[in-house]
């Protein structure tokens, strides 16, 4: 599995490839399809007092304990509307599986490497840290999420350190 991760990491960095897509607020994200373990509807979550606030809780994924990161908080977006339950997009990382709580799951799509671009500098600061690049699709932009940076809570504007310093 570790090899898969390493391989997929280098692969998706340059060329296009297949992406599992999802929505967080207005933003349309893609994660390398090889990194996605599964997609689940909302699961019961055990909250973890004292944990960084982006960690929504822990879920039981067939005997495996998986932390769930709320992508809205991770990206510094306002919280979800009350009745809307998030979806779990479980991604594989070097430290095991981690669930990303997203608003809605999209299709798996191919991206044309010719439309790839570095993220613009004026992107939301919280998001820029976590976005590897952008594919300019016909009707919208696909933001490629850097899962490794996303699950590393020391990175980003709302990281643990940033909060402590504030």
């Amino acid at each position: 599995m570790a090899n898969d991760i390493a391989a997929s990491k280098t692969e998706s960095a340059q060329a296009g490839g297949q992406f599992s897509t999802f929505f967080v607020g207005e933003l349309f994200f893609g994660v390398d399809v090889l990194r996605v373990q599964e997609v689940l509807c909302f699961q019961h979550m055990t909250r973890v007092p004292q944990a960084p606030e982006v960690i929504e809780g822990l879920i039981n994924l067939r005997g495996q304990i998986v932390p769930a990161i709320d992508m809205r908080r991770r990206l510094g977006l306002p919280p979800r509307a009350g009745e809307q339950t998030p979806m779990n997009m479980v991604v594989r990382t070097e430290d095991g599986a981690i669930s990303l709580l997203v608003d809605e799951i999209g299709d798996v799509m191919d991206a044309d490497p010719a439309t790839y671009e570095r993220p613009p500098e004026n992107l939301l600061p919280a998001a820029r840290e976590l976005i590897r690049g952008i594919y300019k699709l016909k009707d919208r932009l696909l933001l490629v999420l850097d899962t490794d940076r996303t699950v590393d809570l020391t990175i980003g504007v709302n990281s643990v350190q940033a909060r402590c310093q504030a």
Partner: protein
């Protein structure tokens, strides 16, 4: 020793059988590819290994056979000879012969009578090039090896080599099974189904058994690693010219094999380190008054769900000053950083990469690769390394190794609507306080809640507060879990206590690792996740441990710094005060009177004692007026205090102990009759304000004695209110009129405001010490004549004071009541012509 040999031979057999089967395969392979140099080299190595071990174990027949075969193989390998089928057969025959001998060793322990001389001869002549063809009759190939293996592989068959990966996988699966079992059991309790009930009970039993079995496959006694140490210690001590005795305790302590594997090298390193740096050469030891033979003790034991391993030596200890010096030289720290280091922090410098204490680089240690590697290795498996060292007395390194992946029993509690699991090993007891008693039993000391548990104070933490959860509404009962973290106990108040369960500890992800309050997570019977509490982390976070830890640490430090400073305390109980203390130096005697001998005189209880009337003061009435007298039949315990020819007895419930303790914790209380509390012998004791007690209960007695001391006015300057109280009570008792001052300024103001006959000041009186007060006094003509008694903390300090020219009149140890009072009395008598001032008792307070 016998067992160890057996063990070695068993291992040799297993390994040799493995090697022989490989040889079989490889030789057959070689026949197909006779030019394959790599294959030949491998065959040669295998044969060489067999020869080597046989020689080591003293199996001469085997060694002879394999030696000749090796010769032959080496010629083949070096290309001196072409491989022929005959040669292959010959080597295969060798393999068979070897198997036969191994079989004999396995069943009888010896090689057996057959020396295989003919085979050896043939091998020899083949090597010399005069190969005689093997007689066909002796070589019924095909049948023989089979027959052999059927007979001789009993040992090989009894063990199977299994990859650790597979064991890990099995363990994981069993963990899952346990969780599912829990789920089914819960499910079962919700239904009334006889067949489901029966099945789930059976599942329960089998799971438990399977779990035990799989756990066992992974466990190894730590002795597996330790067995090598006697040899290592012997070699090192011979090389260094030292005498070292190695003691090992708890070699049977079992650890997960992955952990054994991980701590093998660090342990070896630490043992060598202790031999090299720790234990001194015999001549040095003799000079220091130690036995010439150094002692290195290894101790392993299970504690608190962890395995503790201690490596203790009675060697030189670590010179903290030198560690600091080294750190400075190596540029690890700046001078101002070093100054701030506590002793413990300085000791931990030895774990910094590149730090070496050795003066010279020896082949044993001293290359600066060491303790940092040890630490990182231990931490990698989630362990902790702690070091305690006393210069001249030795060093103890303590490893705490957690059971990273284990199934443990845990208690499920709830707080703030969440469930948490507390590892059973940390659990001491459960306490439930109901109705009125719940508020009465939780008291507050300086805002810290404490609970009186069988006479000793237990600090309390609230789980909901520690974790920042919403506490449940006003409950009609308080549920408390008494927990043990290392050497300390504390109570944890939770909303509810559920039941105990077998849980599988699963690590929290990278994102949550920093949270010290959790030891991991687990999956409960209903399939949801619950967090496992880290008892030590909870204790530290809530503050109950840091405080008491600090207290104990200072107590220990002070104890070691100055033995003379220790004060002997008499501990006793009276009424609801289960643990009171007075300095033993104040106590004249401890007596026991029959209750019937107590008489009444002038409305007071008295007893005839040594031809006098001894006034008895019931202590509990003084401390808690109106509390009922406990009518105990038989004997009454009395502590007798006296001054000159007058005595008074305090009636108490029981004498507990005499403790030799440095008075460390200063907790002033506003309660009348008590000076404060301190930790004495690991428990809190209240210090009795004898002065107050006697004044309240025996005013006439006290007044009389006061007069006898002429009411000399004593200025007592000491920073600690607690120490002041203690010293004061001694002076009060002796009849002096005491004015207290907490610092230099107060002392000077007192001198200005009222006449003082004698000044008593602590050496460390802030700011600037007693010397400042002295110069202030000597600077003014009207104060010049006041004698000054300086109080020091220890006899050692007193000696160093004695060596210096001083202008003060006397110097005494702070808590040596008797000597201090004598000194004050002497100074008082030297005051010529000072007028006596009548004293009203109780005026100062």
């Amino acid at each position: 020793m016998q067992d160890q040999d057996q063990e070695v031979i068993r291992e040799f057999l297993v390994e040799s059988y493995d090697n022989l089967s490989r040889l079989d395969q490889e030789l057959v392979e070689l026949e197909k590819r006779p030019k394959d140099a790599e294959l030949l080299a491998s065959i040669f190595r295998t044969m060489h290994t067999i020869k080597g071990t046989c020689g080591f174990l003293g199996f001469s027949t085997l060694e002879g056979i394999s030696h000749q075969a090796e010769n032959l193989l080496s010629q083949l390998r070096d290309g001196q000879r072409e491989l022929t089928p005959e040669l292959v057969s010959m080597i295969l025959t060798t393999v068979d012969a070897t198997r036969k001998v191994l079989g004999a060793i396995e069943s009888t322990g010896e090689e057996g009578p057959d020396r295989f001389e003919e085979l050896v001869e043939r091998l020899k002549s083949a090597a010399q090039g005069t190969a005689a063809p093997a007689p066909a009759a002796e070589h019924p190939e095909g049948a023989k090896p089979e027959e052999d293996s059927a007979k001789s592989t009993a040992v090989a068959d009894s063990t199977v080599r299994v990859g650790v990966g597979l064991l890990d996988k099995l363990m994981d699966l069993v963990g899952e099974l346990v969780l599912i079992r829990n789920q089914i059991l819960q499910f079962n309790t919700e239904r009334e189904d006889a067949s489901l009930n029966g099945t789930s009970q059976r599942l329960n039993l089998i799971t438990t058994e399977l779990q035990g079995g799989v756990m066992k496959t992974r466990m190894q006694p730590i002795g597996v690693v330790w067995n090598k140490f006697p040899r290592v210690v012997r070699d090192v001590s011979v090389a260094l010219g030292k005498q070292i005795r190695l003691e090992m305790e708890g070699a049977g302590t079992e650890l997960d094999r992955t952990i054994i594997e991980a701590i093998k090298d660090p342990l070896l390193h630490m043992v060598r380190n202790s031999c090299d740096h720790g234990i001194e050469p015999p001549d040095v030891r003799a000079r220091l008054g130690k036995p010439p033979e150094g002692r290195l003790a290894l101790h392993a034991y299970h504690e608190g769900g962890q395995v503790n391993i201690e490596i203790r030596d009675d060697g030189a200890g670590i010179d903290v000053a030198r560690v600091k010096q080294k750190a400075l030289e190596n540029g690890l720290l700046r001078p101002e950083q070093i100054e701030k280091l506590s002793e413990r922090e300085a000791l931990n410098l030895i774990f910094v990469p590149g730090f070496s204490m050795a003066k010279t680089v020896s082949n044993v240690s001293g290359r600066g690769v060491g303790m940092d590697v040890v630490k990182s290795h231990i931490e990698k498996i989630g362990g902790v390394v702690d070091i305690v060292s006393r210069l001249g007395e030795g060093t103890t390194i303590k490893l705490k190794i957690p059971l990273t992946l284990a199934i443990i029993p845990g208690l499920v509690v709830t707080s703030g609507g969440e469930r948490f699991v507390i590892p059973q090993v940390s659990l001491i007891e459960l306490i439930r306080l109901e109705g009125d008693s719940k508020d009465k039993h939780i008291e507050h000391v300086h805002g810290t809640p404490v609970y009186r548990r069988r006479g000793s104070l237990l600090p309390i933490a609230y789980l909901s507060r520690v974790l920042g959860l919403e506490p449940a509404g006003q409950a009609d009962a308080v549920n408390m879990v008494v927990l043990q973290a290392e050497d300390w106990q504390f109570g944890l108040v939770v909303d509810g206590i559920n039941d105990t369960q077998e849980i599988v500890v699963k690590p929290l992800g990278e994102q949550l690792k920093g949270l010290s309050v959790y030891a991991g997570a687990t999956i409960m019977g209903d399939g949801r996740v619950a967090l496992i509490l880290d008892v030590l982390g909870i204790g530290q976070q809530s503050g109950v441990l840091t405080e008491s830890r600090e207290q104990v640490r200072t107590a220990v430090q002070q104890k070691t710094q100055a033995g003379d400073e220790k004060q002997r305390l008499l501990l006793f109980g009276a009424g609801s005060f289960k643990r009171l203390a007075v300095p033993l130096s104040m106590v004249a005697r401890i007596e026991e009177f029959p209750r019937s001998s107590i008489e009444k005189a002038g409305g007071r209880q008295v007893v005839q004692y040594r031809d006098q009337i001894l006034l008895l003061v019931p202590l509990h009435e003084v401390l808690e007026p109106g509390s009922p007298q406990v009518e105990t039949a038989g004997q009454v315990q009395v502590i007798v205090f006296n001054d000159g020819d007058r005595s008074v007895g305090l009636m108490i419930d029981q004498i507990l102990d005499v403790a030799e303790e440095a008075v460390t914790v200063h907790q002033k209380t506003s309660r009348k009759g008590l000076l404060g509390s301190a930790v004495v012998g690991k428990h809190v004791a209240d210090f009795l304000d004898l002065n107050y007690v006697l004044r309240v209960a025996a005013a006439d007695w006290f007044q009389a004695t006061v007069k006898s001391a002429n009411g000399k006015r004593v200025l007592l300057a000491e920073a600690s209110a607690f120490s002041r109280g203690l010293i004061r009570s001694g002076l009060d008792m002796a009849g002096y009129r005491v004015v207290e001052a907490g610092n230099l300024e107060e002392a000077v103001r007192t001198l200005e405001q009222q006449p003082v006959d004698i000044a008593v000041a602590a050496l460390d009186l802030p700011p600037g010490g007693s010397a400042k007060l002295l110069s202030a006094m000597r600077g003014r003509p009207e104060w010049k004549g006041i004698p000054l008694l300086v109080l020091v903390d220890s006899a050692e300090q007193m000696r160093s004071q004695a060596g210096q020219p001083a202008d003060f009149e006397d110097c005494q140890v702070k808590f040596d009541q008797e000597a201090m009072l004598k000194s004050v009395a002497r100074l008082a008598t030297h005051l010529a012509g000072s007028e006596t001032v009548p004293v009203e008792v109780g005026e100062e307070r």
